[in-house]
């Protein structure tokens, strides 16, 4: 591996990539025709084509955000991105039929083994479309739909039509417009009334081709009194040029339902990761975002919850790790739109080797939303003097009955901690790894075990060679 490449993957063991295996690949760049071609190729209903085209025009007209790391955003060359790539001709249901080089990639990620032990179902997104999809029979028999988004649109167009864009409209922001115009892949899940999916369902996303944008679109609907835990993990292989990831995730938790959406993303250091995630929680429903951001050149991501029904609850737990040349601009948005709604936000960030992490949060309580409670805790750990951490909290509180708490702390690893750990036989790097893992522990313990193990391992690797 060249030094540049090594830097790009941050020495991450999964930083490899296979020769591109593409059957259909569009030329770089975006136009209305490209958008129409994508839709036609997928045999989509006309209404979807029209949404895409509308979104395309909105994207073209919409200004770049003028906040956050907007300077860096202007480095994105939208003409140098491939907007659609289909890596095999059909969605595969049988692992045996998956092409060999793609399979190798997944084997190295350990996905088949993980499936045996853990998965409620798998959608493995390889480049733009799902190539492998399985669903456990017990889920199927309970009426749970777990499909890649393209299949979801084909088989359940009425549900998709009702909810697609209902939480994140294409007019929300420039990147939600882009996603709506060119989306491909992602997951579609519907959990019927009263059904509790007890095992986490998981999807893995990777982007492999150079300059390959990835625009997955996920829609999860949990009907009344149901529950589901969805897990996605992302790792990215080596790149030589900038790459764009811009996803949209919409969650709908009906009365009494609960959705937990867990993510660990580990993009290589040249990826722009610009994701809109938002959920609506109806009466007494709960939405939980568990969101881990590692790597990327710039991440801008603020998982949001609209607490629309009385008694609804939001939980946003996020961690961000910003290494050399990286900016994690992450946080949470919670809108208390109904009485007696509650929310907890916990945000933890680590900055190292000149990395920058920012917490950007929005908490809104509308005038009629009486009796709301919210607690926000932001902890930043800065590992050296070149690194940086900022907090940009915004609160809009429309009535006086709200009970709000906000705590923020910035800390450094203390010499006492290092000396103590080293006196117990840990090298300085091991000691740092332990402290960093401990700092992220309130997040890690929320993850399924294999993710927790992988995250800890990754952070330990990040600490290697860092002292001196």
């Amino acid at each position: 591996m060249s030094d540049d490449a090594r830097e790009a993957v941050g020495d991450y063991q999964f930083g490899f990539h296979d020769p591109e295996h593409s059957t259909i690949r569009f030329d770089k760049g975006l136009s209305e025709q490209v958008v129409r071609d994508i839709s036609e190729l997928k045999n989509e209903p006309e209404w979807m084509t029209e949404i895409r085209v509308k979104a395309y025009h909105h994207f073209m007209e919409r200004e770049m955000p003028d906040w956050g790391n907007c300077g860096s955003l202007h480095e994105i060359n939208f003409d140098n991105v491939t907007y659609f790539l289909r890596s095999s001709n059909a969605t595969e249901n049988d692992w045996e039929d998956v092409p060999e080089d793609i399979k190798n990639t997944f084997n190295r990620l350990g996905i088949p083994e993980a499936e045996q032990k853990w998965l409620g179902g798998v959608t493995a997104q390889y480049e733009s479309e799902a190539v492998y999809h399985s669903i456990r029979e017990d889920l199927e028999s309970q009426g749970v739909l777990f499909l890649d988004m393209d299949s979801g649109l084909k088989t359940h167009p009425e549900i998709v039509k009702k909810y697609f864009g209902s939480v994140v409209p294409h007019t929300d922001n420039k990147f939600s417009a882009l996603n709506t115009a060119v989306w491909s892949g992602g997951s579609f899940i519907y959990v019927p009334k009263g059904v509790h999916v007890t095992m986490p369902v998981q999807a893995y996303f990777r982007i492999n081709a150079k300059n390959m944008g990835q625009f997955e679109r996920t829609l999860i609907i949990a009907d009344e009194d149901s529950s589901i835990h969805y897990v996605e993990g992302c790792t990215a292989p080596t790149y030589s040029t900038d790459s764009l990831h811009s996803a949209v995730v919409e969650l709908i938790a009906m009365k009494g339902a609960k959705i937990r959406y867990s993510t660990i993303q580990n993009w290589s250091a040249n990826v722009f990761n610009l994701v809109t995630k938002r959920g609506v929680a109806h009466e007494n429903a709960t939405i939980e975002w568990v969101d881990g951001n590692i790597g990327s050149k710039l991440t801008m991501k603020y998982p949001a919850v609209l607490l629309k029904g009385e008694g609804a609850h939001a939980e946003v737990i996020s961690v961000a790790y910003a290494g050399k040349g990286q900016h994690q601009d992450a946080g949470a948005k919670v809108h208390h739109l109904a009485p007696n709604t509650t929310s907890n936000i916990l945000s933890k960030s680590i900055s190292k080797n000149g990395g920058r992490s920012s917490y950007r949060g929005m908490l809104q309580v509308t005038p009629k939303a009486h009796g709301c409670r919210s607690k926000i805790v932001c902890d930043a750990l800065i590992l050296d003097s070149d690194s940086r951490s900022d907090t940009y909290p915004t609160m809009e509180v429309g009535n006086s009955t709200a009970d709000l708490e906000h705590e923020a702390s910035v800390s450094k690893v203390s010499g006492d901690q290092l000396f103590y750990l080293m006196s117990r036989g840990f090298s300085e790097e091991e000691a740092m790894g332990l402290i960093v893992n401990g700092f992220f522990e309130p997040f890690t313990r929320e993850l399924p075990m294999e993710y927790a193990v992988e995250l800890n391992k990754l952070l330990e690797l990040e600490m290697e060679g860092s002292i001196g």
């Binding site: 203390s414 010499g415 006492d416 901690q417 000396f419 103590y420 750990l421 080293m422 006196s423 117990r424 036989g425 840990f426 090298s427 300085e428 091991e430 000691a431 332990l434 402290i435 893992n437 401990g438 700092f439 992220f440 522990e441 309130p442």
Partner: protein
Amino acid sequence: MAMAEEILRIEDLHVSVEGTPILNGMDLVINRGEVHVIMGRNGAGKSTLASVVMGHPAYEITQGSIYFKGQNLDELSVFERARAGIFLSFQYPAVIPGVQVGTFLKKSVQSVRDEPLKGRAFRKELNTAMGALEMQKGVLSRYVNDGFSGGEKKRLEILQMLLLQPQLALLDETDSGLDIDALRIVAKGINQVAPTAGCLIITHYQRLLDHVHPDFVHVMIDGTIVRSGGPELAHKLEDQGYDWLETSPEGTA
């Protein structure tokens, strides 16, 4: 009688922190199986001595040397000293948030022993040691020293000492702030390690010495040992304080 095996030799040790001299010509030899006690007022340099043997980076050796089993410690970093068999029980152990005691102990023992631990054998060892120190299993899932009482912290220090089986145990005011029961338990831990190690106990009080029987008691004033004797010296200090040593350096114990 077998030849004494030297564990620690301190020769003419001068130490400064940020340019301020703290130790001013210390000499001390500890052999295997010996328990040495160092007493002295606050600021006499007792804790500095323990930290400098462990290798704390804030302390600068300006003159003299420290040898561990004949090797000059200059050559070893903090964690290499730990792996070589030096252990320091901290007066104020650091809090490591988010790191569970069980994980920490296992990783620490693994680092020091430099061999993969067998899960079952380690668990058995851990149970035995915790039993001896009358510790509850629940402590293993708590975070290292996080929210621990003074006594709990000291007990965890002693547990680590039992597991790490050091050849040189430095105990920095391990008895401070302990009630009678905790003191007895901590002493039990020290006595378990003492026969096979060299022990250096730093304390203000004679009361620990009701449970641990020292071979030598040293008095430190202004960064040097002004007097050495047997256990009776500790009793005299308890009764008379340190003034008689300062006013009459040539006086008898």
